[in-house]
Structures are given as structure tokens and as C-alpha cells.
Symmetry: C2
Subunit: 201 residues, 2 copies
DNA sequence: TGTACATCAGTGAACGCGCGTTCACTGATGTAC
DNA sequence: TGTACATCAGTGAACGCGCGTTCACTGATGTAC
């Protein structure tokens, strides 16, 4: 029961996550099926449960990866925009967010689908991952509003993140309101473009 | 097959919608069950299908009512704020939106849950209902930006609606980020308060 | 090196369950004469 | 008014289906001596 076995075990775990990710990307988190997954992975259904308590736990594992990828993309966008002013950096990040959501709509949606009815709380690492995204936004905001107390800054960070999230969400939502991506981009610019040009009430 | 019969028929239809609404309000649209509904309504399961093609169609019927109630509340808020400036009116409407979402979270969520996977398109009246909400927002915006071409105005209307929607959504989402309502109110004021104080880029 | 034993990742048949929808039928109500 | 017939809202047993999860078991691999 040493390294080689542990490695095999880790390999299957990884395979399960990867295949689950593909399925969620294709059909959403609700389309994940234990039997189908086991068949694709070439293992028995039961094996899934030696690695995850639940299918829900598996979805969370996929979401962790998604958060990491999303975080990387946003970091990179803000790094690429280093020379620009804080307002432009905000917009650049929001556009990176949009691009990610557009490229992986179902994976992105799964991040926020974490059931509100669940009895057990969302794990801490999940909230941390979300917090990581926020921190990218807080930095240019602090530059725009140097005198704002930290608490206010946090609030505005959340507010702007949520605003962009809402624009992307309703913009991409196929049936209810589908809007061309370049219009979504302009909406983001409209809302974020106004930030910092005026004293906050 | 005349009035009395039609009336009885309409009564059952109404009863089904009302009971379905109560269930959705309690447990979300996904918790609606044909058999349970029939039992509550005191009819056979089959009867549901003489009134609605689908359970989904029933959900849409409930959503229509929800849209109407929501529309009424927003209209009223904007009517009450008649004396105020356009920016204050925007905020008043957004707060009415928040209050509604807070009071009927599951019904409100159901409005936007209309499945993206469905093969049949969302009916026109559904989009019209959403458009009705937008029109309330467009009016103060037109006042703030008298020179803006209509197309731009539409875009900004959508952008602001989506922003407020995003703030309310993530703010109310219990587990993932729960935030006290007064903070949600302040976030809305922060974002909307900046609108119109600066020339649009 | 060789043998006896322990561990535990992985197996997969079986459990237990709930659900949306259909359709042949009934019976109350209305119409025609 | 009374009778024969037509309509159709409502009935509910039955169809057909898929699913998450468990648990007694196996067999490959590692350890102890």
C-alpha cells in the first residue's frame, strides 16, 4: 500500500474529475450520471464512491479546477494590462471574465449552481476561490479610491463583480435574452466606464 | 358545454396555478410534482394535462403571474418616486426589485430558470413581460441622457438591469456569498449612483 | 528467497425509490327533436 | 316536457424509465518473518 498504489488511485481520481468536467461542459452539472461516468472511466460505479462521498462532491472538485482556470485567465489579463490606468484594468478583467464564461458556459454556470438547498455548507476552499477573484478587482479600485475605507472597498468590489456577473449571465442566457457578445462587451464598458469619475455618495 | 362548465374548468386551472405557485415559492420550480399537485387540488393527475401540455407549461403560467406582480411593484415604486430626479428613480426601482426578490426568492429565481436546454423557444409573451420591466428603466435613463440614440439607450437599460440583477442574485444566494440586505442596498446605490454623472465613453 | 497473512482499491448486482405522462374509460351536462 | 344522443372535463391505473448509492465480495499488492 505504498506509492505505486497511491499513484494508481490518484490517477483514477484525476480521470474521474477530467471526465466529469467534460460531461458538465457538455450538458451541465445536472447531466452527470454515475453509471455513464464509470463506463467512460473504465471502472465500476462503486469506485466513484471510494473517491468522492457524493456526485455533488465530484462536481465541487470539478468546480475547483474551473475556479483555478478562471483565476489564471483573469490574473493574466490584469498582468497584460499593467501599463494601463485602473479603470481600463477593471474593464480588461471584466472582459476576461466574459471570455471565460463564453468559452465554457456550462462549467462557469456550475460554479454558481451549488445548491442553495444543501444541508451541508459550501466548503471553505470554495469561498476562498471566490475571494481570490475579488482580490484582483479590489486592487485597481483601491487606486481609484485611495481614501475609501477598506470595508467600503470590499463592498464596491462585490458590487462591481456582481454587476459584471449579471451582465454576462443575462447576456449569455440563450433563450431568455441572447445578445451578441460585442454588445455584452459594450454594456460592461458602459457600467465600468463610469466608475471613479465621480465622488461616491 | 357552456358557461357553467367553462367556469368550472377555469376554476380548476386557476387552482392548479395557485397551488403550483405555492409549491414553487416553497421549494423551487424543480420541486413541483404532478401527483402531489393533483392531490392538493383534489383532482386526478390526468386533469393537469387537460390544462397544460407539460409541467413546464404550468411553471410558465406561474411565472406569468410572478412577472405581473413584479411589474406592479416596480411601477408603483416609480410612481411613488415621481417627484425625484431620474437617478433617484432608478435607485428606487432597483430597491423595489430587491425587495420583491427578497420576499419571493424562489418565485423570482424561477423566472430566470427557464431551461436553456429546452428545444422549444420561450414564448413571446415571456419576452414581452421581461421587456415591460425594461421599459420602466428606460424612462429615467432617457432623462439622464437626452441625446443618446435609442439603440444606445436600450443597451444601457439592459446593462443596468443586468447589473442590479447580478447584485441581487449573488447577494441573496444563501450559501455562496450571503450578504445582509442593507449591504445589498448600498451596493445598488454605489453602482447606480454613478450613472449619469459623467459623459459616456 | 519463500511463505502466510493483511490491506484495501475496485467490483457490480441489487436495493429502493420517484417521477412525468398516457389513454381507455365514465359520468355529468348540454343539445336536438 | 320528455327522451335519445353527443360532448368532453376529469379519472386513475398502468407504462416505461432512470437514477444514486450500498455492500458483501475479490484479487492484486504489500508486509512480516
Amino acid at each position: 500500500m505504498q506509492d505505486p498504489v497511491q499513484a494508481r488511485k490518484a490517477k483514477l481520481r484525476d480521470k474521474l474529475i477530467t471526465l466529469a468536467e467534460a460531461q458538465i461542459a457538455k450538458g451541465g452539472a445536472a447531466s452527470l450520471r454515475a453509471r455513464a461516468l464509470a463506463q467512460e472511466a473504465g471502472c465500476a460505479v462503486g469506485a466513484i464512491y471510494t473517491h468522492f462521498d457524493d456526485l455533488d462532491a465530484l462536481v465541487l472538485a470539478v468546480n475547483l479546477r474551473t475556479f483555478q482556470r478562471l483565476g489564471t485567465q483573469v490574473s493574466q489579463a490584469v498582468a497584460d494590462a499593467e501599463g494601463q490606468g485602473p479603470n481600463a484594468r477593471l474593464i480588461t478583467m471584466a472582459l476576461a471574465y466574459l471570455r471565460f464564461a463564453e468559452a465554457h458556459p456550462a462549467l462557469w454556470q456550475a460554479l454558481f449552481d451549488v445548491r442553495m438547498t444543501a444541508d451541508d455548507p459550501v466548503p471553505q476552499w470554495y469561498l476562498d476561490a471566490l475571494g481570490g477573484l475579488f482580490s484582483h478587482i479590489a486592487e485597481p479600485l483601491a487606486e481609484l479610491f485611495p481614501d475609501l475605507p477598506e470595508q467600503e472597498l470590499d463592498l464596491m468590489t462585490r458590487a462591481l463583480f456582481s454587476s459584471v456577473h449579471g451582465i454576462v449571465l443575462l447576456g449569455l442566457q440563450n433563450r431568455i435574452s441572447a445578445v451578441p457578445v460585442d454588445q455584452i462587451e459594450r454594456m460592461i464598458a458602459q457600467v465600468l466606464g463610469q466608475v471613479g469619475n465621480t465622488p461616491i455618495s
